[in-house]
């Protein structure tokens, strides 16, 4: 199939308005005759569900948690970007667009990013009207801060809990529609398959996680808003339940996977403390506004950080990037930390950590002021590590945090499967090869509140209004396949637990497809993951049965999918013979160890098509055309 991104023609700044006008409308009286399934209730799913229900569609939502409010978006800390220019500091829609394309190392679609920047301003209006308690100034107006990689203050925030407050806003909008009977919310349900009828997505198969019952749900369109797949790496900042199952099953039904190797490693996380570790905790990037990152100039310096005099510290980000300093984009900050640790300058027990020091700002503004800004983050750090960051620098290290890759979608957010949409982190997104801080929340809400409600109508207007049967042969067949697969997992009856397999996979991915990648390492990694996958299907042990709440069975299905997706990530990383954003191939770097892009060879989206179990994927290229920004080597010096 030829990829058609459906980018509207015309000048960049008019594309979205023109497109909206061209989108066909569904008559208000007919909207209630259409059913839409939305899998996922994070920012993207919840905002889409509420908005579509308000328009009159019948919406069903699904999430695996016990409440839509607990989706992983709840954990986002730092903030959300919008081109409001409330600070009068030179921000504009165009600047946000430009920063995002540049920050993504020129691997995103211009038209999508511009639309994102345009609707960003409406998001803030929407959230404030819902009663989201953003931080404010004494004059009663909204406060802003600058955030990772931006030289303007365009980030709106609610203390260190912005994701929580935005999600509770979207959830409240959902609740209103649930109360009005326009949304039916299925919680503790996991989608395990997309159902296709006549080549169109017409429903899903889901498992009730309490009873284990398998259910068939039909609809005229299906939206996947199931978040990112970073948990392939096992130790990450994601919630434990975040998974790739929905998008991977959709992929196997024909949805192409875009740029799977683009993962983001966040520079400021609490380092690993031991084998028991189940997740890594992010320390918000906002800390980099006031904290200074350094390592001792002397390798293995045994002194306590506070005893090391100023002159014997290497503030390496300030040294290497004088104009951006501690605020360089994430990929650069992460790689620099790895670089310092690889060279032997790392600190802490493992040598895999650098200092993030607040003593200057505490001296300058006092402990009280610092507490007001970062109190909850400091408390969190203290609770986890047992150390007091007001008195001694924090120790941080990069950790997997976000996936820019995801299901390939066109300008309408439709995947290559007709009727199947992907929004939020689940799609291959607007962030190219690297996402800027505070832009994921923006994208999730842009997709859900302001894009899908238009584009889905355009598709539905051509779809028959009769209800879709959920007992057609296609549904029965899909249901049976899901049941067989669960039985297969239970019947292996081997010796290794699913957590053991997951941990092993995570380490493999981190070592072979982490912050520094090489052709050799990737090739070896692909062989290893094949072996691990074979081992999984022979030696897995899942206690308990199918017809009951069984957390190990849930996890087994997810890890089975990671074992396939992980391989595709490495295949993609191996294919991309360049370094860009979060994808760093050690063979391709400048003499100063910066990423070296190859715009001639790789200015494209890699969209991978599934061709059958154990068959090589087929690569389709969507060439990226830059009409508005000029491609340059990113420089933050």
């Amino acid at each position: 199939m030829k990829l058609d991104s459906k980018i509207p023609s015309g000048p960049l700044s008019e594309k979205w308005d023109n497109h909206k006008f061209k989108c066909k409308l569904v008559n208000p009286a007919n909207k209630r005759k259409y059913d839409v399934i939305i899998v996922g209730t994070g920012l993207a799913g919840a905002s889409a569900a509420a908005s579509l229900a308000e328009l009159g569609y019948n919406v069903k939502t699904f999430c695996f948690q016990d409440s839509p409010r607990r989706a992983h978006s709840i954990a986002a800390q730092g903030g959300i970007n919008a081109a409001k220019n409330y600070r009068n500091d030179g921000d504009s829609v165009y600047r946000l667009f430009y920063d995002t394309v540049k920050g993504g190392d020129y691997r995103a679609r211009e038209a999508n990013v511009h639309r994102l920047a345009q609707v960003s301003v409406n998001i803030i209006d929407q959230c404030v009207a819902q009663g989201v308690p953003f931080a404010r100034e004494y004059g009663g107006l909204l406060d802003n801060r600058s955030f990772g990689g931006a030289q303007v203050s365009r980030t709106f925030y609610a203390k260190g809990q912005t994701g929580q407050q935005l999600l509770l806003g979207a959830y409240s909008a959902m609740n209103r529609m649930i109360g009005e009977g326009k949304i039916k919310s299925y919680t503790r349900h996991e989608m395990l398959e997309v159902v296709m009828v006549d080549g169109q997505a017409r429903g899903i198969i889901a498992r009730d996680l309490i009873t284990g019952e398998i259910e068939r749900h039909s609809a005229h369109a299906v939206v996947l808003a199931t978040g990112g797949y970073g948990n392939v790496f096992y130790l990450t900042t994601y919630a434990r339940g975040s998974n790739a199952t929905a998008i991977w099953r959709a992929h196997k039904k024909g949805a192409y996977f875009g740029n799977p190797c683009f993962t983001q490693i966040h520079p400021t996380c609490i380092p690993v403390s031991g084998d028991h570790q189940s997740k890594l905790t992010l320390m918000s990037e906002s800390l980099r506004n006031d904290g200074r990152i350094w390592v001792p100039k002397q390798k293995g310096d045994p002194r306590k950080p506070v005893d090391i005099p100023e002159g014997e510290r290497d503030y390496y980000l300030e040294r290497r990037y004088p104009s951006f300093g501690n605020l360089v984009p994430r990929d650069i900050a992460s790689r620099a930390a790895k670089d310092m640790c690889d060279k032997g300058f790392g600190v802490g027990n493992t040598g895999l950590a650098v200092y993030l020091d607040f003593s200057d700002v505490i001296k300058r503004t006092g402990e009280k002021a610092v507490e007001a800004k970062y109190g909850n983050l400091f408390d969190m750090y203290k609770q986890i590590t047992g150390e007091n960051p007001y008195k001694t620098p924090m120790m941080i290290y990069p950790a997997v945090h976000y996936t820019m890759g995801g299901l390939w979608v066109d300008y309408n957010l439709m995947t290559t499967v007709p009727g199947l949409y992907a929004c939020g982190e689940a799609n291959f997104s607007d962030h190219g090869a690297n996402r800027l801080g505070a832009s994921a929340l923006m994208q999730g809400l842009a997709d859900g509140y302001f894009v899908l409600p238009y584009t889905i109508g355009d598709y539905l207007s051509d779809v028959e209004r009769t209800p879709i049967a959920n007992d057609s042969p296609e549904f029965m067949d899909a249901e049976q396949k899901v049941k067989d697969r669960l039985q297969k997992l239970l019947n292996i009856k081997g010796k290794k637990t699913v957590h053991e397999f997951h941990r092993e996979l995570g380490l493999l991915m981190w070592n072979h497809c982490g912050m520094g990648r090489t052709a050799e390492g990737l090739t070896a990694g692909i062989e290893k993951i094949k072996k691990l996958r074979a081992d999984f299907w022979e030696n897995l042990m899942v206690p308990g049965g199918e017809q009951e709440l069984n957390q190990n069975l849930e996890k087994a299905g997810r890890v089975a999918d990671y074992l396939e997706l992980g391989e595709l990530m490495m295949v993609d990383a191996l294919n991309r013979n360049e370094s860009c954003g979060g994808h760093f191939r050690e063979e391709y770097q400048t003499p100063e160890n910066e990423a070296r892009r190859d715009d001639e060879g790789y200015a494209y989206v890699a969209a991978w098509e599934y061709k059958g179990d154990n068959q090589p994927h087929e690569l389709h290229k969507e060439d990226l055309v830059f009409e508005s920004v000029k491609l340059t080597q990113r420089s933050y010096k």
């Binding site: 404010r136 309490i210 031991g274 969190m380 053991e500 042990m541």
Partner: protein, 252 residues
């Protein structure tokens, strides 16, 4: 395991909502003080799985104190012995070597047990659906800065909105009242101009669903505030009472 603490766990085991439950005793050996409480349970579960015993089912997701999923009673206290943290943020350094730890699910009529330590909190959803929102459609909103809000009120609304919906307040209350949870939501909106428009209807509707869902009445024991991991204040309950009185006075 990677540490040197040895503990005895007494854990509530219950196969499903219909069967009755009981305490089982397990040994947790070689626990590291740096482990979180849930990581300790992970390790115990791996051992149980390998000896053919069903692992202990417990709810969790974010593991950083924000999603509100984790929910367990530890040594007679909701979320365990440390004030201001959820079970997932609790670390084993808060326990002594050799200690016996009793782990139970939330106990409240409105939160039936689903399995082991997992309870059903759908009653919270129903309360929210009854009025925990501002009725505004997508797209029909004025510029954000056209609604100024005093910083004091905005901060206060944020403090109320910080509730994670975990249910510890209900579990800690001898009446199983959800007034702290409910009042936090009512307060967030009561403090903001956006929320004032529907304030009277909201408080009445939400309170009615609260009572119908089987939560008890508030008798001001303040046990909820003491156990709330997010420091939600009982002053929210006082505000709710004022809002309710005002709503009843005017009638609508």
């Amino acid at each position: 395991m990677s540490g040197n603490m040895n503990l005895t766990l007494k854990v509530w085991r219950q196969k499903n909502a219909k069967e009755s439950g009981r305490f089982e005793t397990y040994a947790a050996k070689g626990v590291s003080p740096d482990m979180s409480f849930l990581e300790m349970l992970d390790v115990v579960n791996e051992d149980l799985s390998k000896t053919g015993i069903d692992p202990i089912a417990f709810d969790h997701d974010c593991r950083e104190g924000i999603c509100g999923t984790c929910s367990m009673y530890i040594n007679g206290r909701a979320h365990g012995p440390v004030k201001g943290v959820t079970a997932c943020q609790l670390h084993m350094r808060s326990f002594a070597d050799g200690e016996t730890i009793i782990i139970e699910p939330w106990r409240a009529a409105a939160f039936p047990v689903i399995r082991d330590l997992i309870v059903d909190r759908q009653a919270f959803e129903k309360i929210q659906q009854a009025g925990g929102f501002v009725s505004v459609n997508t797209g029909s909103t004025p510029d954000a800065n056209s609604i100024p809000v005093s910083k004091v009120n905005a901060d206060e609304a944020f403090n109320s909105a910080a509730c994670i919906g975990c249910g510890a307040c209900v579990a800690a209350c001898k009446n199983s009242s959800a007034m702290l949870f409910l009042s936090a939501k009512v307060s967030q909106y009561a403090l903001l101009p956006q929320g004032r428009v529907e304030a009277k209807k909201r408080v009445k509707d939400m309170l009615k669903v609260h009572d119908d869902a089987g939560f008890g009445a508030c008798t001001n024991t303040e046990a909820c505030e003491a156990e709330c991991p997010k420091g939600i204040s009982v002053s929210n309950i006082a505000r709710l009472n004022r809002e309710y009185a005002a709503a009843m006075l005017v009638g609508e």
